[in-house]
Symmetry: C2
Subunit: 344 residues, 2 copies
């Protein structure tokens, strides 16, 4: 991070981001949920999906691409299923609501699933998975997104970076937490490396003709996880995400989502889709058995020998929760452009 980064206490940042979003036209309750999701990412060190996104959302609100006064409609379609229409508003409140409904269904049925349609960019998928874990459930979250990743052997961008997030509750501890794109790297790494003059890792990006490149200036889209040899796996996982998040609830397919510039010009909402699953461990092995097993799993995993003893093995989320503790003490680092927008 540059020296122009300032560390801001979370409470201050929350108030400022919320104020900024309402200033851009969002309702107070929507701004609150968006801020909550952005702070999840900023707190655990995922700055690409943190408070810096508030400017992006404000732009879309002001350009009329997002609906500042959405009427969300939740339709229960079965004891354990539902579809929530986000009415093209900020996606975060809709996403928290969808996961909350899925958790309610899981409490009654053992598992529950809610698809969201007519939605927009929801930030970090893990924000919603964690909410299920806070209520004692395993949470699974997917979203589709704008084409940025090639198929295996594909010459154009097809799928989005289509993340998969899962959180699992751990007794007396932060949840086990996975939140990963199905590409090897996110596109903003390409942009960052361009400005830093660094080479990209092998097998992560391709040029405009689909040929592998490590030069960020020539990189025009990404390769799926697994790269030139095993990228059929990453591409298939991206497909899992598209099927669950877009096809199943009825949202737009990744290659049909308009790039932001075109969406702005046409003032046309994206109709991005998300999918939320909650699973209640109490309905499977039972709460006691689950708590004992996940505890033992993490103990055995963290005690497992590393190739390099200076770099011990970690469970998904360990690095992020450690960062959250650090940031709780030192504040959240905010980049200059976002500081300026927030008047900090």
């Amino acid at each position: 991070m540059s020296t122009d980064v300032k560390h801001i206490p979370e409470a201050v940042l929350r108030a400022e981001v919320q104020r900024f979003l309402t200033g851009a036209g969002a309702r107070a309750e929507d701004a609150e949920q968006t801020t909550r999701a952005l702070l999840h990412a900023s707190r655990i060190g995922v700055d690409s999906h943190g408070v810096r996104l508030c400017r992006y959302y404000a732009d879309l609100l002001q350009a009329g691409v997002m609906n500042a006064r959405p009427t969300r409609v939740m339709r229960r379609t079965g004891p354990a299923a539902g579809v929530l229409d986000g009415d093209d508003g900020l996606a975060h409140g809709a996403s928290y609501q969808a996961m909350d409904e899925a958790v309610d269904m899981a409490a009654t049925c053992g598992i529950g699933a809610v698809g969201v349609v007519h939605s927009t960019h929801f930030g970090a998928a893990g924000a919603y998975a964690v909410e299920a874990a806070h209520r004692g459930m395993i949470g699974l979250v997917t979203t589709n997104s704008l084409s940025l990743v090639s198929l295996f052997g594909g010459g154009i961008a097809f799928h989005g970076t289509n993340p998969i997030a899962m959180a699992a509750p751990v007794p007396d501890s932060r949840p086990w937490l996975l939140d990963m794109a199905t590409s090897s790297i996110p596109f903003n790494r390409v942009q960052l490396y361009r400005s830093l003059g660094l080479s990209l890792p092998e097998g992560t990006a391709v040029d405009a003709q689909g040929h592998p490149t490590t030069d960020p200036a020539r990189a025009s889209f990404l390769q799926p996880l697994g790269g030139p040899e095993f990228g059929f796996k990453g591409a298939a996982l991206a497909g899992v995400v598209t099927i669950l998040s877009a096809i199943l609830p009825g949202a737009t397919l990744d290659p049909d989502i308009l790039p932001d510039a075109q969406a702005r010009q046409r003032r046309e909402p994206a109709n991005i889709g998300h999918f939320f699953i909650a699973i209640d461990p109490a309905r499977f092995v039972g709460r006691t058995g689950y708590d004992a097993a996940i505890t033992r799993y993490l103990e055995v995993l963290r005690a497992s020998p590393a190739v390099d003893p200076k770099r011990p093995v970690m469970a998904p989320g360990d690095r992020e929760w450690a960062e959250a503790e650090k940031r709780a003490r030192l504040g959240i680092p905010v980049d200059p452009d976002t500081l300026k927008a927030l008047g900090l």
Copy 2:
């Protein structure tokens, strides 16, 4: 394949594998379900999980590690949840039953999930995912397995190759079908390359100290999908599988599963776990909307330009279903050891 491979018509092979398994002590109805799962894999060209496994299962039955007279018990724990105890028998009948129960739950609730405990090696995960698709549902299947894959930066084998399978129904067509290990390659590729004297791809295997190697003779376990740079993603996906398949239903954790030799010595069953989810598209976007969207998705995907025009892009399953058509005409290739065991 060597020249000693023979092509056997599916009907002949089915009868012989079933006879072989009952000869090893399996009940007729269990042998039938095992044969059904093995033929799924053999039919679509996944020979590692095809009929050759009948010898492995017969060995475990005869060594008393598997229960030849299991009493399976299905416990409904909620409207959309259940746990099936496989009583240490052949896993295939239990797995078909679990998916069938999950599909019934999904028909009522929108989604359903069944965990299986006290199970054994179930063959190809895709065999059961496909069954959900044949009943109009999206099917998701996971299983944990014996430690063979390192953690990210890990010095020992920790997770199994922990596959993820998903099938999605496609109108007037074979299902979209993914069935992938969360390692880059399966361990039997290491064994195959040893005998062929070939080098392994970079980033797929490690030696006994956990250091990367491309020499199959030195390879003692596998790296997670993503390799030395992005293997934290593959390792996390293996963790997703362990949490769903082992921790949630109450099965043995991957690192605690006894290697076959020890299991034989102690006559101790493995208590492997599986997890089955079925989702009914009719409860989300609706059948008509789903059918139109999955059809369009696959049309757009298959028409998407390839880097190399001679190698068009494919959807997961395309290669496998094409192989199935070929094998329906030419018969299923069977290796010499299996031919001998089956008396063919």
